[in-house]
Amino acid sequence: MTAATVTQASAGSRGDQPPVPDGAITVTVKIMRFNPELDSEPRWESFGVPALPTDRVLNLLHYVKWYLDGTLTFRRSCAHGICGSDAMQINGVNRLACKVLVKDLMAGGGKHTTITVAPIKGLPVNKDLLVDMEPFMEAFRAVKPFLITYGNEPTRERIQSATDRERFDDTTKCILCACCTTSCPVFWNEGSYFGPAAIVNAHRFIFDSRDEGSQERLDILNDAEGVWRCRTTFNCTDACPRGIQVTKAIQEVKRALLFRR
């Protein structure tokens, strides 16, 4: 990696900066940059950004893009943790940029705050913080992530008890952000591993009382690239912005494989 450069707010390349709000402090946002059109390898670049404690990290990235360097590239959409677009490594851990507030990253004791932002790991980087999601989505699609039923459909809804519905509630929360899969050391080393997110989505159907495709799905997950690769490091559970008990879900799928008829 090449040496870091610092772009200060006062010396931005996009003209005058907007007024700094009361109570803002200047933090350094250190971003891993990579544009294969221009760079032979990733490099770090730092920006001085005025930030309020209540700002989301996404606000700081927008500040850089809108006022300092328009070439900074990342995905984002809903900005409140629902769409799953802006997964990235923030201070070394996988988070959604729209769900991390500056106040939770502040250096103590009046020291200067530096926030480090890098792309999620294990997927090819297309540009700056934007990665190729296709390998991730491919693993998702491979586990048959849809309700499988046989026989005639009922005229009304299928009956499902509240308890049966509750059984898979946790794994219905997944937003496919890839925070879990790209925090998994097994996935980093062996990209062919389905990864936690795909298993979470398999779990969502395996434990749905309406589903009749569990055996097909379990066969897929029994594969060499399937659940047995998981080494229960719990990185995925820590990384999930939706609070899904990812490792537990993987363990439940393993158990279903062990005890299936």
Binding site: N35, M133, C174, I175, D208
Partner: protein, 587 residues
Amino acid sequence: MQFHKYDVVIVGAGGAGMRAALAAATEAGHAPRTAVLTKLYPTRSHTGAAQGGMCAALANVEEDNWEWHTFDTIKGGDYLVDQDAAEIMAKEAIDAVLDLEKMGLPFNRTPEGRIDQRRFGGHTRNHGEAAVRRACYAADRTGHMILQTLYQNCVKHGIEFFNEYYVLDICLTETENGPVCTGAVAYELATGELHVFQAKAVVFATGGFGKVFKTTSNAHTLTGDGMGIIFRKGLPLEDMEFYQFHPTGLAGLGILLTEGARGEGAILRNASGERFMERYAPTIKDLAPRDIVARSMALEVLEGRGAGPNKDYVLLDCTHLGAEVLETKLPDITEFARTYLAVDPVKEPVPVYPTAHYAMGGIPTNIHGEVLRDNDNVVPGLYAAGECACVSVHGANRLGTNSLLDINVFGRRAGLAAAAYAANHELLDLPEEPTTKVADQVALLLSDHGKERVADIRTELQATMDANASVYRTEETLKQALHDVQALKDRYAHISVQDKGKRFNTDLLEAVELGFLLELAEVLVTGALERKESRGGHAREDYPSRDDTNYMRHSMFYKQGDGLKSEIRLDYKPVTFTRYKPMERKY
């Protein structure tokens, strides 16, 4: 330039787009070659942010029927609803919900194992007697579950997606019977390359344009692209002055807190703790339709009864619901309040204020999703559904949950109609040089022709729209907004895009999006100025009453000329009535 041929091309992969794709692929009786183009990834669309529910008169927990739902929708829309369309929506709502359940959607369940239902604003028993349990829901992530379920079924049926393909134009081929839609032109974000998709039918499902406002529940990507493209083609937009402000946005941020919270019993209070909705809507109180609740909140603040250090918000009190209801039925909004405002709804009331939420207007269509080119004629081959469209089932004010319903009912209808059209028609020749306009637009934006920043213009646009065209409007504020928007359009001519590259150029994307926002803001404000009455979501302080004599009619906006700055021609379209006569709207 790359070239593709399909039977059906769907633009947008939110709820309406994917429902249309599934209808075309699985219900049409033949399988047209279908492609879905989205500027995002499929599960990133803002359908996923919808929370509270989807209404259908299933009558699973109490007596209900679709006629009551029709009436509520029409009354909720302040009688600007086309009543034939509302009837279809309420009737087909039941199958729409059951279809989703069969596709796998994990609805919350009653003790008997049926789909559970809860109360929602403006949905009532027997024409307004009391609130009714009509909203089918999956905790407070119903939209998330709809989006995931539809995508899962698209995977199941092998629907072809073109992700991060940004459609910037449609192809209209002139025939002796007028223009026919023959395709779409897309900019591939990964490469900067242009793609022409020749198609027999094109379905627009591109969502709303909430980003004209600063305080909004909408995603950054909701910039009205589809409506803007249609408008620039000289085709009309309908009822654009009607924009919904959702009562309960997190104060200062605009993040949505579902009406389902009030459906579960939460109460709005002013600074002194008074349940102020009792004064404005004595029968259904906090469950009055959104326009009424939003205006009541704004009045409380205007009259000095707001809460907080600046008295600029009111409070959503959920504390009496108990931790269990909040954690099981409203977990996401509980977390939003904790994360973004550091307020725990279990223990203290949440600061809320109206947030720009939903466009009632849009691309006019008939009940088959066919896009109108004027009051009487359609553009063959062109369809629209969801928030970008105006059928019109929402009239002057949409009821809560009816958008999730709209995307499923009319997304499906548009997909079926497009598939049927494709089956019976040949591919027509594209117009000559279909990419020229888009190529020129991109080249101009990337050229050095000024120093104006996208962020500055967008910030000023959003500021003037919030200040001058939101919950309450007057001649004076609207004239100010119009003046501001037009001045910003002048500045847009000198916009600078810093990223000149071809690879994932989101800097360019934001500049294009801003152009659409400016266009639509001007239409909204123009319509609001011309409509000298108050109806539904459009509240004029200087004309506080509804005026059925002069304004019981849809507005139709046509762009005159090619440049960003151009005249808007305003025309009118009659409202369709079936059996409901306009009445005074009381709750």
